[in-house]
Symmetry: C2
Subunit: 410 residues, 2 copies
């Protein structure tokens, strides 16, 4: 059994018209009019595929294709339809529409599975409108309270709760996704690893751990002309040493480690004044929690050295951590077996970004399949994957689903 | 003959009440109501000292104490009464009020000099309200056109020309300061060099040369999680290397060299996005123009290395240079002879900041005397010099003035 690549491409193309940008990308922020239109289209397609749609009180959409065993827990497939501003056509939408294509393929074949198959569209995965990211899946799995989620406000002050009602997707708490046998999410890689390896698909080991630190360097601002170099306590010179140190530490921690200084603020930020204060973010990522801790410890040690050498004070506040989430070993084995059955080259890799599957792993065995991203680009209008790679990924999703849901007849 | 230290302190104290800040500093922006009050007070004191005040069309105030030789060119003494926001009590005001104290001392002694002695208060030295700095002295010496100066606007859009008229200090082009035999300016050092050397006064070699460059680093912004370290083109990492290089180059160029990165802008400046672009200022200072040029050349060479190593593009635009201005050797010798006569320890040093004397050196032999700054602090409320050091500086100004103006009798 193989998915219909042309039909999947057509669905992706049709969906990409909703919120289409002049540059060929998509802006479809969570709970916007565009998101409503995308949801309405998905609901119509699900109905046409013979499924009934239920919506929970976070706007998560769930549709079920029954199995032969009424008592069996479902296999759940999905992702999200919201995008960042000027994002791409594949991030999120691929996982939802490939799940739909799996069901359409089963329907075409008259296939019966023992377990029901569910398709889910999670609300506000991106966090581009309402922070933090993955609000819908996090709320459904108990990470966030309803009051917290409903109170999240966008830049204009409109809340998640109000916008959910406004677009008509505030459903029933009783309709929240229930227990599942497994959760599978197909997604574009959003990075260059598969492309570099020359393989169309990847089996995802898990979601990398992330920790965020705020570093503050306090020196002494002074006149750029009257203060000799030897007497300065220049916060920017000290910060430059630490910026280089973060990358050096991550390099020493192996190829799966990441360190990024993304936010960087200099005060007073005047051409002829020595910076008195610099504050910056450090984003460390690693698949192992212990190694994340070690990176932060090493940063502290480097900061002490720099502070002593430069005559500045440095404080480091580790203010947020998302623990590493390895996916279920059996689900990963099942995905890998499906890839091998299809004879595709593949690679195992960690996801450096968060996905709804991270929170689903809280409550059921979960796994992800990555599709090769052209140029490793994502969250931009240039985001792309070839139809062949997309079909490859969708066929892996189908094959893994058949194994997990247990094909009875077709 | 010695100045009256108590009287000079009292004058400084009285002047510091105009624009006094709660923190003990002064905010007296050029052509503000506070500047007008300071000018009115100075005019009254000058009149009380028997001088008549003339005001030119840039608001520069000039008062003359006649000499015995009607044909002799004057010796001019002065500085400025404007301050930065929340500046100190001594920057500028010291040079004007010490000049007044010199005249008061001569009056007390019934002294007659061959040359006239002039006291000048230059308009808008700081550039804190109207950019650039030293507008009044620059305009009087032909560096700036009248149209340029009058059109300078503050943050609220009020122009130099309008504000000059508003406070009643728009005078006559015929009253611009004429040729002079010499110009002397007493000023606080604004840096830590004299304090470190343990001497109360300094003989200033000249005004250091300054050159400003704008550096732009262009990499590729990407997701902090999905882009492996080895594949990044991180503009901030590259910029950090160059920030450290600027200081290293200046260190190699000797103790009078300075390099400062003061403005530093990161884009998009988001915690989990690799910086795609960084732009920053470089302020190089050196007493020799050729060495300034060499610093910029060396920065270019470093930038090429960093660009190659980091996979980024780096452009450097050298957009402004203020040439080094050595003061007149004979005037410096005269000041040094005056210091030696007074038996004071002193040091020769370059001024790392600009002063009105830089532009006066364009049209007459000029020199400066520095007074030790406590902690090297300036342009802040904590700016301070002891009464003893201030008296020492004012006595050097008096002794040098007597040599240049030629004491006839007392």
């Amino acid at each position: 059994m193989r998915i219909n690549s042309a039909r999947l491409q057509a669905s992706l193309e049709t969906m990409a018209q909703i919120g289409r940008t002049p540059g060929g990308g998509v802006t479809r922020l969570a709970l916007s009019d565009e998101d409503k239109a995308a949801r309405d289209l998905l609901a119509r397609w699900l109905a046409e595929a013979g499924l009934t749609v239920q919506v929970d009180d976070f706007g998560n959409m769930l549709a079920r294709r029954p199995g032969s065993d009424p008592a069996a827990a479902p296999v759940r497939l999905g992702s999200h339809l919201d995008t960042v501003r000027q994002g791409g056509r594949f991030d999120g939408a691929l996982g939802v529409l490939a799940a739909l294509e799996v069901v359409r393929t089963l329907n075409d074949a008259g296939a019966v599975t023992r377990r029901p198959i569910e398709i889910v569209n999670w609300t506000n995965e991106e966090g581009a409108r309402f922070e933090p990211a993955m609000l819908g899946s996090g709320a459904a799995t108990g990470r966030f309270t309803k009051a917290f989620v409903y109170g999240r406000a966008d830049r204009e002050g409109r809340t998640f709760g109000d916008e959910l009602v406004r677009i008509g997707y505030c459903g029933d708490p009783a309709q929240r996704p229930g227990p599942a046998h497994a959760y599978l999410e197909l997604h574009i890689e959003q990075g260059p690893v598969l492309e570099e390896a020359g393989v169309p698909v990847g089996v995802v080991e898990g979601i990398i751990g992330i920790t965020w630190c705020q570093v503050t360097v306090e020196g002494q601002s002074a006149h750029a002309g009257t203060m000799p170099l030897a007497r300065r306590r220049d916060a920017l010179q000290a910060a430059a040493h630490l910026v280089l140190a973060t990358r050096e530490l991550a390099r020493q921690a192996g190829p799966d480690a990441r360190a990024t200084v993304g936010r960087f603020i200099v005060e007073p930020n005047v051409t002829n004044v020595i910076p008195g204060r610099v504050s910056f973010s450090v984003d460390f990522r690693h698949p192992e929690a212990a190694l994340l801790d070690r990176l932060v410890e090493q940063l502290h040690a480097r900061a002490e050295q720099v502070a002593a050498a430069e005559g500045v004070r440095i404080s480091i506040e580790r203010f947020w951590t998302s623990e590493p989430t390895p996916f279920d070993p059996a689900v990963k084995e099942t995905i890998e077996a499906a890839v091998r059955e299809l004879g595709m080259p593949f690679q195992r890799l960690w996801s450096g970004a968060g996905h709804d599957a991270k929170y689903m792993q809280d409550c059921c065995p979960s796994g992800m399949i990555f599709v090769r991203s052209q140029g490793g680009l994502s969250h931009c209008e240039q985001e792309a994957s070839t139809p062949e790679d997309i079909a490859a990924g969708a066929n892996v999703l189908l094959a893994a689903t058949l194994r997990l849901a247990e094909l009875v007849s077709h």
